[in-house]
Amino acid sequence: MNATRPSSTQKYKFADLLAGPAVRERWERVRKYFFLRESTYDMTSRCNIRCDGCYYYAGEKQFATDTGDPEAWRELMRQEKARGITFVVLAGAEPALVPGLLQVCYDEIPLGCIATNGVKRIDDSVGYKIHVSVWGSDATSLRVRKQKEMLEKQIGNYRGDNRAVFVYTFTRDNIDEAAPVIKQLSDNGCRVTFNMFSAPEGYEGTLVHTEETLAKTRSVMLDLLERYPGHVLFSPYSAVAHTHRLGLHGLYGCPYPRKNPSTDIGLGRSFRQYRSDLTWDRAAACCVPDTDCADCRHYAAGSAVVTSKLYRHATDPDTFKAWLDYVDTYLAVWVKGYEKGENLCRGIVEPPEG
């Protein structure tokens, strides 16, 4: 499929882009969520597995002293709410190991998501979206994550749970394993989205993508999206944005504080990434700290990086529809109760120039 990039002489009014009823309906649907303002929180420095290439165990944050006091977390959540945070992402190292703290966060800020390895089930009373990380087949998980029958455990814990989205991370080594894993997830009624391994700073392992594996991954993503439309939460433009050789920062410019000194408006103003000792560092604050920014193609990063570039995508009908598909995907993956619509743009659209 050939990529399209609109002629620079072609001018559309925003009203023209919204003229079609399907586009208008989708725009009105997604814009209701513009109030979401996120921050992220490492809940504990403990984990029940240890994976090659883990972001948590890179950099300084792993050495933070855990704050296990629920009242300290409750107070933090109240302060966060007071400064306008409406969406929390609970991560690192393994949040399922501190269920009481998850409950406190949910009681104070009820919109959010938990990033978990899925080995230990999180109780239904915590009504956040739950992202279960999948890094390949069970043989690969045994090699990279030192866990036997990991996918079976994950599916056993979250089959039929409408909070759960499985997140398949494509590394250089596991591209061919995606098809059987996605089939297994689909057969079990699980929903899945895609992530790209993005090297932590200083990482010298074998999981980093090359131009060849980026292209191959894009092709596999598009194929799986076609084959499992009811279970794969993704869009053609998501595949383009996350497998581009330039990476997210190179393509769009990253709005997270770590790369954005402005505190005027947007993420540069509101986003914080708290460590498990409840401190945060503006110089390190982004959705997955200690990632090498030049290699960043994280699904979590894209959810803000691409979504925030509304203006840049309001250039022509296809580019705008591709952006709407991206935002629709992001909301379906991250916000409980939001159901993904059909993708409006089935073709391949190149990211607009900045």
Binding site: D264, S308, A314
Partner: protein, 90 residues
């Protein structure tokens, strides 16, 4: 359209657009203080601002640069920015 627009009329129209796009309640274009800080005092975020900018571009047929968003903190500043752009086009 003439190269410039009466400043008060321009501010009122910008206020109307902001009220309509953000579905603000309990405020009218006439009562909207043009010096109110839209970020600090109204609480608008970057996505809201991007939406308003796109609608203003349609309305006045001027280009508002992405890099200039952060300057557009009040209705008065937005109206002044549009006025400058209209004059530059004339």
């Amino acid at each position: 359209m003439s190269a410039t627009i009466d400043e008060k009329a321009l501010q009122l129209r910008v206020a109307e657009i902001i009220i309509a796009e953000l579905k603000l309640q309990d405020i009218t274009a006439e009562t909207f203080d043009p010096d109110l800080d839209l970020v600090d005092e109204i609480g608008i975020d970057s996505m809201d601002l991007a939406t308003i900018v796109l609608v203003l571009q349609d309305e006045y047929a001027v280009k508002i640069d992405e890099d200039d968003y952060t300057k557009l903190r009040t209705i008065g500043l937005i109206a002044g920015y549009i006025q400058e752009r209209l004059q530059a086009k004339a």
